[in-house]
């Protein structure tokens, strides 16, 4: 993607501790390119919000350097960083009208009245809220407040905009709609966006790249498709989407492929991701929708293993079938509800198989 010396935002060996005992952020290295939409995704307490707050200037890094456009900003106070920010609960000033809220960042920059008005109008039109300049935030719906918060973060033309779970308070439908709007704004304005969320769907939908945080570290930094299809460790595989996990030991390992003997004795095919030699313990991860149960679809020469249907759930567009595979009772397969698709019955004995590249042998 971007090499550190041309990065617009760069974290270099950044550490953060609140109590002097434990690290909330452990040796963070991250380079964000100009115009990129980067999402920090992770469970709560993973360090993603702390990282965002360090970038915004509300927290200071305990160690390491944070650079913006090549300049170290560790000691620059938040108001001099020129970074737009959208907060979780919007943080619209309740005692000001929408217009005054948008005018605030321009006034503190000493901008003249006519220029301010032009910029406010442009920003409000950008989020289709042109008619609401004289309302108070309390008179707006959640979605409208969200748009105003967005407009306020953009009105002073920042090069970098941070968003801290901005859609968390909206209902599902509105959230999905706003995801696309934010995405489109990002594309049309060419700004750099750093977005924090714990919603993986949001992360996959909007981002150029996603940084998955856990335990103060970036577990994987990759475009959404790579993250989903090629998770690099078992945390990412487990955190992003649903997946089946099989414990085993590496039996054979070759160029880009390996076989794994499961605890119950069966042998399966997999792609080695972070296993390197025979005899290593591994956790094989397979996406439910990549598991085949029709023998004609099994790849030639690949292993297949026995399974027993435990439960069949009709979900409308999908079927979800829970199987017992190699002693595990929560092996799930998903199949599309296509014309003529067979509904499996509980108790039925079948065989399941998959393409070796869909099964990833990860750290145990």
């Amino acid at each position: 993607m971007t090499s550190p010396n041309e990065a617009f935002v760069a974290f270099e060996h950044v550490q953060k501790s609140y109590d002097g005992v434990s690290l909330v952020v452990k040796d963070l290295n991250l380079a964000i390119g100009k115009g990129e939409f980067l999402t920090m995704l992770g469970p709560s307490g993973s360090g993603k919000t702390t990282t965002l707050m360090m970038l915004a200037g509300f927290e200071t890094a305990t160690h390491g350097e944070i650079k913006l456009d090549g300049v170290n900003i560790n000691l620059v106070p938040p108001h001099k960083r020129g970074i737009g920010m959208v907060f979780q609960n919007y943080a619209l000033f309740p005692h000001m009208t929408v217009g005054e809220n948008l005018s605030f960042p321009l006034e503190v920059r000493g901008m003249g009245k006519s220029e301010r008005e032009a910029k406010i109008k442009r920003a409000l039109d950008m989020v289709q809220m042109g008619a609401f300049a004289n309302r108070r935030p309390a008179q707006l719906s959640g979605g409208q407040q969200q748009r105003i918060a967005l407009a306020r973060a953009l009105v002073f033309d920042p090069k970098l905009v941070l968003m801290d779970e901005p859609l968390g308070a909206l209902d599902k439908q509105l959230r999905e709609h706003m995801q696309f709007e934010i995405k489109h704004l990002h594309e049309s304005l060419g700004i750099t966006v750093v977005y924090v969320t714990h919603d993986q769907g949001e992360a996959l939908t909007m981002s150029d790249r996603v940084a998955v945080f856990n335990d103060g570290r970036i577990q994987q930094l990759a475009p959404p498709s790579d993250l989903y299809e090629r998770p690099e460790n078992s945390f990412v595989a487990g955190f992003i989407g649903e997946n089946n996990k099989l414990q085993g030991t590496v039996e054979e390992i070759g160029q880009g492929t390996c076989t794994v003997r499961l605890a119950t004795g069966e042998v399966i095919d997999a792609t080695p991701v972070n296993v390197t030699q025979k005899g290593q313990k591994t956790l094989v991860s397979i996406r439910p929708e990549r598991v085949e149960y029709k023998p004609e679809l099994f790849p030639a020469g690949a292993h297949s293993i026995d399974a027993e249907v435990l439960e069949f759930i009709y979900m409308g567009d999908m079927f979800r079938t829970r199987l017992r595979v190699a002693g595990s009772e929560d092996f799930v397969i998903k199949s599309r509800n296509t014309q003529g698709q067979r509904m499996l019955r509980p108790g039925e004995k079948i065989k399941v198989g998959w393409h070796p590249q869909d099964a990833r042998a990860l750290d145990p």
């Binding site: 915004a56 200037g57 509300f58 106070p77 938040p78 108001h79 001099k80 960083r81 020129g82 970074i83 737009g84 920010m85 907060f87 979780q88 609960n89 943080a91 619209l92 000033f93 309740p94 005692h95 605030f104 960042p105 503190v108 920059r109 306020r152 973060a153 002073f156 941070l162």
Partner: protein, 416 residues
């Protein structure tokens, strides 16, 4: 269902919906009313009635009108401006003689004394002599005391002839009657009320301002600290409430008096000369100091309750939008604490305006407030004068309250 909007809605069995609803709720309403009835009765008996009675007293005094019927009758027959002739004096002497029998000369004299000082003694003297006086009565009375022929005295009688009067308010506003029945300002040495009102409101405003200055940082600290620490500090703020006001005030005297601890320390470290100790108590500085301390919690609590619910993200948002910390405070934080500032100031000011114990104990001569004068009049049984002053205080406070409602809105009042 289009026809439903035409006719009033009805229940399934054909009764009007509104009546049915009222009936269904009547029982609950009755019970709710019965529950608040004891409190309502209590408030009426102990709050509303005394205030109404106080207001009545401030307009009513029958000390003269009830005890001088003949003089009152003469005044009713002769309009303002009539010559005070011998018949008037004859009526007055007959009244004085009756007063001597009923021992009411003091009461009548007191009533006149409010607006014409120095009359209690001449009433008592004249009443003693009344039975022995011979016509012409005017000359006889004037022989006793020159004041009896003062036209102003008779103007005063005319206003005291009815028990209903605004004379007490006139006195409270440092006004007096002139001989031609007009109003004029009282003699300079008698003008004490307005000055005291001004001083009371001025000192109260100063104390409110000091409380605000001191309470704002405390309340902010309480609001941003973690719950456990802020609870501990809150106990310190509330601690004074658990000590008697008298004890707290006395402690201040022990601290601040001329031979008190503070002065001892200042002398000890050589800041103040031993023969030039600071006068902190028994003057208005004592009143300001102690009342600021006593009233501080009443400012902290409303401020705290408002500040606690201001999310820190507002300040962060302002900072990220480019505002310095000062601008953030001035334009974002301060405006949002306004309901707390207003509520605390209103509370402290109203309490200060009517404060009694503290100024009485540490106020000395120049640190006493209007409530101390009211108390003085009550101690002298000058109920009507005390009531008039108290009513004026009440009206001034109600005006403040009304202003608060107009400017901030009473529904935004948060007291903790």
């Amino acid at each position: 269902m289009a026809d439903v909007s035409q006719a009033p809605l009805q229940t399934a069995d054909g009764r009007p919906l509104k009546a049915a609803l009222a009936k269904a709720q009547a029982r609950a309403k009755r019970r709710a009313f019965l529950l608040v009835l004891p409190l309502l009765a209590f408030v009426l008996l102990t709050f509303v009635l005394p205030i109404l009675q106080m207001l009545q007293r401030s307009f009513y005094h029958d000390g003269f009108s009830a005890n001088a019927p003949a003089t009152v009758a003469w005044l009713e027959e002769h309009p303002q401006g009539s010559e005070i002739d011998e018949t008037a004096y004859a009526a007055l002497v007959s009244d004085l003689a009756a007063m001597q029998k009923a021992k009411t000369a003091g009461a009548a004299g007191t009533r006149i004394n409010y607006t014409y000082p120095g009359t209690i003694s001449i009433f008592k003297e004249a009443a003693r002599e009344a039975a022995k006086l011979q016509p012409p009565y005017k000359a006889a009375l004037v022989a006793l005391d020159k004041k009896w022929e003062d036209p102003l005295l008779w103007v005063t009688f005319r206003h005291a002839a009815s028990p209903w009067t605004t004379d007490f308010y006139m006195v409270s506003m440092d006004l007096r009657r002139s001989t031609d029945d007009g109003l004029q300002r009282a003699e300079p040495e008698m003008r004490i009320h307005l000055q005291l009102f001004v001083k009371t409101f001025g000192l109260s405003a100063l104390i409110t301002g000091l409380c605000l200055l001191l309470a704002f940082p405390i309340a902010h600290l309480l609001a941003i600290l973690p719950m456990r620490k802020s609870n501990l500090l809150m106990i310190l703020v509330l601690l004074p409430f658990w000590t008697s006001l008298l004890v707290r005030t006395s402690s201040w005297i022990a601290l601040g008096q001329e031979s008190g601890i503070v002065n001892d320390i200042l002398v000890g470290i050589g800041i103040v000369a031993d023969d030039n100790r600071i006068q902190m108590m028994y003057n208005k500085y004592g009143t300001i100091l102690v009342m600021t301390h006593v009233l501080l919690p009443f400012m902290v609590l409303p401020l705290y309750s408002v500040m606690r619910v201001i999310p820190p993200s507002y300040a962060r948002a302002a900072r990220s939008l480019g505002a310095t910390s000062w601008t953030t405070f001035r334009r974002i934080y301060l405006p949002q604490t306004l309901p707390g500032i207003a509520a605390g100031s209103l509370l402290v000011f109203i309490l200060a305006v009517g404060y009694y114990i503290t100024p009485a104990l540490v106020g000395g001569a120049d640190g006493t407030l209007i409530s101390n004068l009211i108390s003085f009049h009550m101690a002298k049984a000058n109920w009507s004068q005390a009531a008039a002053l108290a009513a004026m205080l009440l009206v001034l406070v109600l005006i403040l309250y009304w202003l608060y409602d107009r400017l901030i809105g009473i529904d935004r009042l948060k007291l903790g």
